[in-house]
């Protein structure tokens, strides 16, 4: 019998996908029966969505690719330093 701690640890480490079908079914069964573990899983899902939303707002300037390509065109193997 899996405990809430077993289930939440498997979910939190992301190791569930590597476990046997029997173990994965046991976790699904536990989640169907346990609203606290379902809440824990939803919290982790929300963490990921929040982190994705936080990063999505980070965009470089519009000419980012142009400047980067120009600088890289001026580099040569072994120099280690970009030329502006």
């Amino acid at each position: 019998m899996m405990t809430c701690k077993d289930v939440s640890t498997l979910i939190s480490t992301g190791h569930l996908e590597e476990r046997s079908l029997g173990r994965r079914l046991a976790v699904r069964f536990h989640l169907a029966m346990c609203r606290h573990c379902r809440a824990f899983k939803r919290q982790l899902d929300l963490l990921a969505r929040a982190a994705r939303a936080s990063v999505a707002s980070s965009e470089p300037a519009a000419d980012f690719e142009d400047r980067l390509t120009d600088r890289l065109s001026g580099t040569r193997t072994g120099s280690g330093e970009p030329r502006s």
Partner: protein, 191 residues
């Protein structure tokens, strides 16, 4: 990446450079920002990543996916910039935080609340920025690769050099630390 493309890149062919920059540049920039680097530093690091990529083309030899190879370079450069240790201690306070949520039978002692009583995604996005900054380098990178880039543990293992098992431990610690940080801000507080 095939041999003709590698030859063009070695020769710094502008079209080949633009193609690889256009395909991977912004994703690398966002990842660098997600790893806690400022906008100015992130742009410098992304340039540095491409310079290293071009210098190590002979070692690349089309073996790995270009994106995975570039993320691997970025991960090491981000660690250098933050001067963080690549190691995680085996026994961390954050493990105690997780253990304390359960009773001796493995049942929840401090029950997590569902999102209906937690912050919504928008509030969480604003709150999580500070909490992400508090994560140590390795935790932040693994959390970013697994949860934001949605890469598999096997892919993150190639990028970081950590074992798949250790990536699970680091991800678990990152999530535990983030939940604890957000709970301190009133997110999903148990009643």
């Amino acid at each position: 990446m095939d041999e003709p493309a590698l030859i063009l890149l070695r020769a710094r062919d502008p079209d080949a450079l633009r193609s690889v920059v256009t395909e991977h540049g912004r994703r690398l920039y966002r990842a660098a920002r997600g790893m806690g680097l400022s906008s100015t530093v992130a742009e410098d690091v992304v340039q540095d990543v491409f310079v290293t990529f071009l210098e190590t083309l002979d070692r690349f030899e089309g073996r790995a996916q270009v994106g995975t190879w570039l993320f691997g370079i970025l991960h090491h450069k981000a660690l250098e910039r933050r001067r963080s240790s690549a190691r995680d201690d085996l026994n961390e306070p954050v493990d105690t935080v997780f253990e304390a949520q359960f009773d001796e039978r493995g049942h929840w002692a401090r029950r997590p609340l569902g999102p209906d009583r937690a912050f919504d995604a928008r509030e969480s996005a604003a709150a999580i920025a500070g909490c992400l900054d508090a994560l140590t380098g390795q935790r932040r990178d693994v959390f970013h690769f697994r949860q934001v880039e949605e890469l598999s543990a096997a892919e993150v293992s190639k990028i970081t050099g950590l074992s798949v098992t250790h990536i699970g431990v680091v991800l678990h610690r990152a999530r535990t630390a983030l939940r604890a940080c957000l709970e301190a801000k009133g997110w999903g507080r148990s009643r």
